[in-house]
Structure formats: structure tokens, C-alpha cells
Symmetry: C2
Subunit: 139 residues, 2 copies
Amino acid sequence: MGTTNQLNQYWTDIYFHLHYPHKEKISHQVVRILQLVDKIDGVGVNDIASHIQVSQNTASEHVKRIIEKKLLTKERDSLDERKVVLRLTDLGRDVLHRNTSLDEEKLQHVIDGLEDSEKELVEKAFQLLSERAKSCSLS
Amino acid sequence: MGTTNQLNQYWTDIYFHLHYPHKEKISHQVVRILQLVDKIDGVGVNDIASHIQVSQNTASEHVKRIIEKKLLTKERDSLDERKVVLRLTDLGRDVLHRNTSLDEEKLQHVIDGLEDSEKELVEKAFQLLSERAKSCSLS
DNA sequence: GCGATTATATCGTAAAGTAAGATATAAATA
DNA sequence: TATTTATATCTTACTTTACGATATAATCGC
């Protein structure tokens, strides 16, 4: 087994054991859209459409429904009134968190069981990987 | 910001930048079921129902549809013929991989940019966290 | 200013997905 | 053999997802 394969084994095991219990009925597409709004600055409806590979009108309908569910807010860009500026609501941030992050309670429990040096190891590794991942996807 | 909060920031950034592009239209429930089959040995239909919080008949229909899509196979337990034994097909494993793992190409690219000591750091950290996560959810 | 372009929205429609209640079956258990 | 356990099926209802066609309103090029 290669290094990346092994790392993915670890990765999926960590998520499987530490994720939040699934409460809300939420679709993959909705989670993806919330992620895009969270991670990319100033995404509009068209950006979403191309990222999740659907037509512009479908993306627009998605956004409409997500706003109805109070997970996003919509304003118009003051510099270009054609453009929409989407933002996560507190609820949206919460839903996104529960569907993509590790359960803070479980994670805290695991962290508490680590020695100080191990804690540092984990933090450094995650920081390193997230930094390199960011710069990688830019290039 | 607390340690777990910071770690989750790293975690979601890593996934956002390194995940596979979304090809197939697949629902959350299907991914969850594939995960259960992958990570838990000998899950039956009832186990799935309680894990994803739906009724037994709904779980059974889910399984039926997933089998129709050739993502799972079904046999009967030879020791207890009432029980179903589910297994991932190669396609199922592939779909699960593309929807929960990090893109091996992107990950490899990031890993290649690391020093040997950094590689070791990342591997150790992930191994450590996955081990502790497993034993944590048992207790 | 005016036509073209860009960004988004809406309507109609169709297909697929999700879920549960009621009921059935077949194997194992007491 | 009656009961329990594990799963399956049928019906029904609602939601979600997606797209083509069309519309609107702001901005851009000239």
C-alpha cells in the first residue's frame, strides 16, 4: 500500500469515528454549496454552477431553497449590481460544521488522551498539510 | 480559538482543497451506507437503519437501490440465513473512495513537496489520530 | 444612448430520491 | 409449534434535483 493510500485509510477512519451524528436531512449538493460559500470569497451563482457541475438555473434554484432554509443570505454586490454576494448565516455555519467537521467533543476527548508532544505533532501535521493543500490548489 | 476548532479549520481546508471533483450524483444516505459497509464488519439492514436513523423498510429499500446500482452485493449469512451480509463491489469501493477520501493525485503532489521529516510527521500524526479515534468510539 | 453581454431568476416539467405504514416471508429460537 | 428476528415488498406521499425555455436587470463596448 502506497503512502497516499495509507493516509487515506487514516483519513477516512478518523472521519468515520469522529464525525457528528447525522441529524438533519441534507443533500450532498447543499453541503457542497455551503462549503463553497465558506471557503471561497465572493462566490456567485454562476461560480457555484460550474463548481458543482450543474446548469446556471439549477444553481439558482438551489440557492433559493437554501436561503429559504435560512442557511444563506443574499445581497447584491455594490460594485456590480448584477452579482450576488452569498453569506452563511449562523445556522448555515452550524449545519456546515456538523456535516464536514469532526465532532468537537469527540475530538477533544481524543486530544485529551494525548501527551503534550503528541498534541503538538498532530497540530503541526494538520497545519502543514492544510497550508500546502491551499497553495497546491492555487497553482 | 480552541485547539479542536483550529484542528477543524485545518481539517476542512485540507478536504476542500484535496477532495476529488464531484462526478456522480450521489446522495448523503448512499455514501453513509457505503461507509458503514466499509468500516463495520458484517452490517445488516437493521444495523444500517439504526445508524442512519430511518425505519427498517426504508433501509431495506436503500440497500435494494444501491445493489441495483452495482455498488453493493448481498449474500445471506451461512450461520444465520436470516441475516444479510453486504459487501462493496469494486465500483462501490471506487464511488466511496471518490466521495470520502482525498484525491490521491493531489495528495501525492502535496506529499512530494514535503521534506522527509515532514512526511514522517504527517504519517505519524494521522496514524496516531486514527488509532485513538478508533479506540475512543469503542469505549 | 443602444445593442450585446453578463448574472441571475422564474416557470413548467420530468425523473429520481426519500421515507414510512401495513403487511409478508422465512429462518431461528424457546 | 408459537414467537421472535431479520429482511422484503407494496402503496403512497412528498421532496429533491435538474434542465430547457424564457425573462429581467445591470454593465460593457462602441
